[in-house]
Symmetry: C2
Subunit: 322 residues, 2 copies
Amino acid sequence: MNAFATYLDRELPKIEDCLRRHVAGLNPYVRPTADHVLKAGGKRLRPLLTILTARALGYADEDIYPLACSLELLHSATLLHDDILDGAALRRGKPAAHTLFGTTHTILAGDVLLALANTMVASYGKPVLTACLSDAIMSTVSGEIQEIAHIRDVALSMSDYLDIITGKTACLIQSACKAGALLAEADPPLVQAAAGFGMNLGVAFQLVDDALDYTSPKEVSGKPKGSDIREGKLTLPLILHIQNLSQEAREVFTKAFKENTLTEEALESALSAVASGGYADKTRDMAVSYLDKARECLGAFPAAEETGLLHTALEGMARRDK
Amino acid sequence: MNAFATYLDRELPKIEDCLRRHVAGLNPYVRPTADHVLKAGGKRLRPLLTILTARALGYADEDIYPLACSLELLHSATLLHDDILDGAALRRGKPAAHTLFGTTHTILAGDVLLALANTMVASYGKPVLTACLSDAIMSTVSGEIQEIAHIRDVALSMSDYLDIITGKTACLIQSACKAGALLAEADPPLVQAAAGFGMNLGVAFQLVDDALDYTSPKEVSGKPKGSDIREGKLTLPLILHIQNLSQEAREVFTKAFKENTLTEEALESALSAVASGGYADKTRDMAVSYLDKARECLGAFPAAEETGLLHTALEGMARRDK
């Protein structure tokens, strides 16, 4: 077993236990909804990053788990609300919470998980941690708002797209790493390195996600191929495809995309064109450039087992297929 | 002009200005929804209580407004989500946000107002304030969950009812007062007195609200008389009415209430019975007993203009008709 798997074997049960204990205290009315989203097979990337960063920077206390888990709870809260907004039927291959529990339970479960995340971080009594979490909440919600505001917006620029994925995904991953560094009371340049690592890793994570949406079969990803294009989300593979269409084809495609009148045929043809044009690969290439920047940030970290594991996580990100 | 009106004339514009400045920074996609709920004629009770408490306890700085307004933003966030859950058509006599802007905008506007409240409190860098806000969020959401879990629950006890109104309303009003005392760095017994004042005032506030739902004409309250009973909410006037029905009448009424099959006639007859039985008045009497406890808590406050105004607010609460 490699070092990363050994580490996961030791840490994941502690993360799961902490999540379970906190969710167990919630009102029975929303607990099943909260349980559902938390058990839907998340990778616990955010808590792991908090733990690895804090440990790499010398923090040894066992009181790290609520902080680490607060970021998973915040992430889960946003998933619950997002799935309602997107009208998504599936989440990680399982029915989205709102299709099982209804909108009321799902809105409230999202609200209470957010409240729980807040309470858990507040209990540390450290203003820097609170500020880190509240920045994460604001960025994530703002990113989600920006994404929805640009649904079916064929004029979305590359820079708008990067703003959206930074807000909705990367800022929370940044906060996961930064929170670990802050808990470890690392020196400001190291806190900045941890934040930079998380930010770049987070952008890469979402770029890979957006590439996988065009390439990963449903059996692997848990959601139908091309779900972004179906939901009217313009992500990098599609932006590149549209840029490379002839003017005439572009006008036809963008009109139908904008008006949500794409036929199944046109949709399949766009998926093929993204594949044959290599636009998903180009998206992964861009992810690699962000991973390079993330690796550079890690250069500031001290030599430690966990610094090595952060490198391993980073390498795994480029290869991930789900 | 009386002293309270003079004080309001001076403070309300500062509260409105602070709210306006913070909401102006939100994404244009959700700003109109946030503006709508904030402009729907709220009394700004929570910010006023924070300000009056802090000033009564000797705090003179002008930096109080973001803290005070954070509680109004949290309150507005919960109103946005609640109106979706309740399926309410009106809020303070105006169309509820979700009927104008749709569920997506309304969920996101609620999320972003909550995020904004968090960010504003975090900026003080004081763990006690953060803890106060996160407790308020958790209690308010939990109270709302409990209320919804007991919709059409004819077995709701008086103690469950008090738990619900404490959670959904009183805890936030408690936090508004407590936050003011904490900002003023008051001694622990005074912080406790401020919290006790807010808690009792908050329970009284909701009791009066629940009485008004049965007595206040639509032109005054902005919502149709008996909207709670229509939404399946069992509040004190109805609990008292049900307790006083003959066994047979109780069985008929509770069955129809539970199954949401009350005819318009049965509903009108229940409204009349609540009026003739004096159950709304009894609810107000109970509010008065909480106001007495709130007054007792104020006894610990130093003599100050604002202590007098808190007494005025308290007296006004017993008389309010909207």
